[in-house]
Symmetry: C2
DNA sequence: CAACATACGGAACGTCGTTCCGGATACCAA
DNA sequence: TTGGTATCCGGAACGACGTTCCGTATGTTG
């Protein structure tokens, strides 16, 4: 999958200037719209914000998931990269796991509707699912393995299940002051411990 | 709120026969449609199944939530009533809580899309939310109190938060074989324990 | 059997995601 | 500079859906 064509001629002759400009404009507009109305904001609203037609959105981002991934790519990468660092810095693997999960939760609950979108099994969200899993499951797996190896937690839960569960706990967390997703995630992580 | 007019004349002169018949037909059709396509099944599908127009559905059940509540009322009642019984039968309050939560989870994950609907903050689902909370929160509260009094679990989690968290963990559980909501709920309940 | 209240059916409307294509625009070669 | 062409844009158009509305049908009652 990785392309190693540096040095050779570019088979992609570089996009038109207006196209590149629009792509950036769209990312900014989508980002603002997500903050204002959640990731479920109507496509037309994003288009209006960016001052373009809806067709332009679909040309650059074939599915809503592509747009979401593009907007949040940096933060997801940062979260993924924090995993190994936390493992090195923390006193125990379980502490690292807890801190890393907290990063993930903080990211999710500040993005209105993202956690819900993450659980959607609609075909349009396939890309979103795939990207999150590709980047985060291996990191979580590493933390989980370390904690298991240290004898701190039960060994019968995989990274996918844990991440999905944590993501689920964050659904709707931003819109109900009575619901404290952070605390429930803490309880869940506590439940991993071997008594 | 409770009406104590038994014995007095009935201000509601009893509905027309065809209306009563249609209400029952609709409940059966909705129940079948929920099983076949989840609680998100289009209203028109339910109408077609029942052999009525969509207007008839809205007349009997103003919101989708009303329909869902009507279809599952019996099961929800049964779950609520099982709480005190479990508390009496189980060896410890925590065991009763765990068994009761399992009943709730079993109910949720067999109803495609219900857990997701339960988290929706759309106005149309207000009735659904209210009914679940009215019936189940007091029961859960009772179990939780007993377990706290017995010194088994941490005292800083309320019934609302726990039920909502468990409901969240069940979102999408029926459509992803890799995701085991039951196990995650077990971990969560285990996390309640004072180590 | 009339006459009235009640309930029914499904057309119609607004919203949304998504597709499609005629026209505009950037790029490049001459 | 100028023409030609590949690329890109805008927004109309379509289908699915929830929801409302009203002319018509049907049961109920006197």
């Amino acid at each position: 999958m990785a392309e190693i064509d540096s040095g050779a001629e570019q088979p992609v002759p570089r996009k038109r200037a207006d196209a590149r400009r629009n792509e950036k404009t769209l990312l900014d507009a989508a980002s603002a719209a997500f903050v204002a109305s959640g990731v479920d904001v109507p496509v037309r609203d994003i288009a209006a914000r960016a001052g373009v037609g809806v067709g332009t959105i679909y040309r650059h981002f074939p599915t809503r998931a592509d747009l979401i991934v593009a907007v949040y790519r940096h933060q997801i990468e940062a979260c993924a990269e924090a995993g190994p660092a936390l493992l090195a810095d923390s006193r125990t693997p379980h502490a690292a796991l807890e801190r890393w999960i907290n990063l993930f939760v903080d990211f999710l609950i500040t993005k209105h509707g993202l956690a819900a979108a993450l659980q959607s099994d609609a075909a349009a969200f396939q890309t979103l699912h795939a990207y999150f899993l590709d980047r985060l499951v291996p990191v979580c797996d590493q933390l989980l393995d370390a904690a298991v190896a240290a004898g701190e937690i039960r060994p019968d839960l995989d990274a996918y299940g844990l991440l999905r569960g944590v993501g689920n706990l964050c659904v709707g967390a931003g819109s109900d002051p009575r619901y404290d997703a952070r605390r429930l995630v803490q309880v869940l992580i506590a439940g991993l411990r071997l008594h």
